[in-house]
């Protein structure tokens, strides 16, 4: 654990320019308090300090009631999404040194706040296409008896977990690059004006279904995407792609859906006539 004089990453010492202090203005809200406010904290930082490091330092040394959500610490889980200086970031990979002397930290926009920096993600996941489940069977496992021994071992593990997951009715959750962090929904200028808009992540998931339908009917996906609160609500700001930490390119996927609806799908209907 770092001491109060050490930076959150444990960097300290006489090296001029390596340890610094930054003022973090942190959004605070507790249910029942009624009012939102910003608290200011002076935090010692080093060259490698991230915003998440700084927030955890505040928890340990200044205010244990500060609530935030994080898990993997390396941009894989998507749980530590925040607004840092009003731009969407994953706190675990957001370097403090890239920001100024005063850094504003806020929760994600367009989702209800549970407490402090934690938002309720239920509404985010509820936007995904229910009719066309994202949870679906993965690729068939490799040949256990005749294939590579290491692959065979992995296949056995795979089958074991599939057996355990069976009661849930699902095998694996797949959306390739998307880590479902909600940054795109927070950055989207349309999502703040229309709560019905399903948002970039859900539409990108639908487009991913078109790429690899795995039994899902393409027409159903397109019908879902072309609803009034679907692809046509996007106003082409490309903020979602800019905010996306994993290059899932949600805006480009929304445009691909539109292209499919405008040209390919229309042509398909014409041929059916």
């Amino acid at each position: 654990m770092s001491t109060p004089d050490q930076s959150p990453t444990g960097q300290s010492g006489p090296h001029i320019g390596q340890t610094d202090t930054r003022r973090l203005r942190v959004f605070r809200y507790k249910r029942g308090d009624g009012r939102e406010r910003f608290d200011e904290f002076e935090v010692p930082v080093g060259p490698q300090t991230t915003v998440l490091d700084a927030l955890r330092w505040i928890q340990l040394h200044r205010d244990p009631t500060l609530t935030l959500r994080h898990s993997c610490m390396h941009a894989s889980c998507g749980t530590c999404g925040l607004q840092v200086d009003s731009r969407e970031e994953l706190a675990c990979v957001c370097a403090i040194q890239d920001h100024g002397a005063e850094i504003m930290v806020e929760p994600l926009a367009n989702l209800p706040i549970l407490t402090d920096l934690v938002v309720q993600m239920e509404g985010f996941f509820a936007r995904f296409p229910h009719e066309h489940p994202i949870i679906r069977s993965s690729e068939p496992p490799p040949d256990v008896e005749h294939g590579d021994p290491m692959e065979a071992h992995h296949a056995e593990v795979l089958l074991h977990h599939r057996h355990r997951a069976a009661p849930l009715g699902a095998d694996f959750m797949r959306l390739e690059d998307c880590i479902e962090c909600g940054l795109c929904l927070s950055a989207c200028p349309v999502a703040s004006t229309s709560h019905e808009y399903v948002g970039p992540a859900a539409l990108a998931a639908a487009e991913r279904l078109l790429e690899e339908p795995r039994g899902v009917r393409r027409d159903d996906v397109l019908a879902w995407a072309s609803r009034p609160e679907g692809v046509w609500r996007c106003h082409i700001g490309f903020e979602c792609t800019q905010a996306c930490p994993t290059d899932a390119i949600p805006a480009e996927r929304i445009m691909a859906l539109r292209r499919e609806l405008t040209f390919a799908h229309h042509g398909h209907e014409e041929r059916e006539r």
Binding site: Q83, A187, V190, S192, I236, A251, R259
Partner: protein, 158 residues
């Protein structure tokens, strides 16, 4: 009544009766960008990238053009009043300050039109990967066009 009986709760309260339950179950506020109501968040350019700012400017220039349309109709209705009213109005609109407003209007039309072409193409799934290049190309064409328009309107070319 014995002390033991006094200290015992009559019955364990249901979860919904615990203090603070109502406050905790109430939905929290939804944070949004920009001052004012959430619906106006798109207006604030400070918290946006290039695409978001282009969207905001596209909407604002659209409103400017619609406002000008009604203003134009109102001005044309002065013809109904007579020649003298129209002549005095011409004196106003040929003033340099008014002509400068006309340049602003041309700028709004240029931005809205050029960005509209980009939005229409990208929104149909055409040249999506070139959307940023199209924005800057449109901006360059727009700047050149508005410079020419400004010189022309202000009479520098005649």
């Amino acid at each position: 009544m014995s002390d033991t009986a006094l200290n015992q709760p009559s019955a364990s309260p249901a979860a919904s009766e615990l203090p603070g339950t109502a406050e905790r179950s109430a939905p929290g506020p939804v944070h949004h960008k920009g001052p004012g109501p959430a619906e106006s968040g798109w207006v604030d350019p400070r918290r946006r990238g290039l695409g978001g700012r282009a969207l905001a400017l596209h909407r604002i220039t659209g409103l400017v053009i619609v406002f000008y349309l009604y203003l134009h109709l109102a001005v044309l209705s002065m013809l109904l009043i007579g020649r003298s009213a129209w002549s005095s109005f011409l004196g106003l609109v040929t003033a340099k300050s008014f002509l400068a407003l006309e340049v602003v209007l041309i700028g709004a039309v240029l931005f809205h039109g050029l960005n509209g072409i980009r939005v229409a193409l990208v929104g149909s799934g055409i040249a999506v990967s070139r959307e940023r290049a199209m924005f800057w190309a449109g901006t360059g064409i727009g700047i050149a066009a508005i410079c020419f328009a400004a010189l022309h309107v202000m009479g520098a070319l005649s």
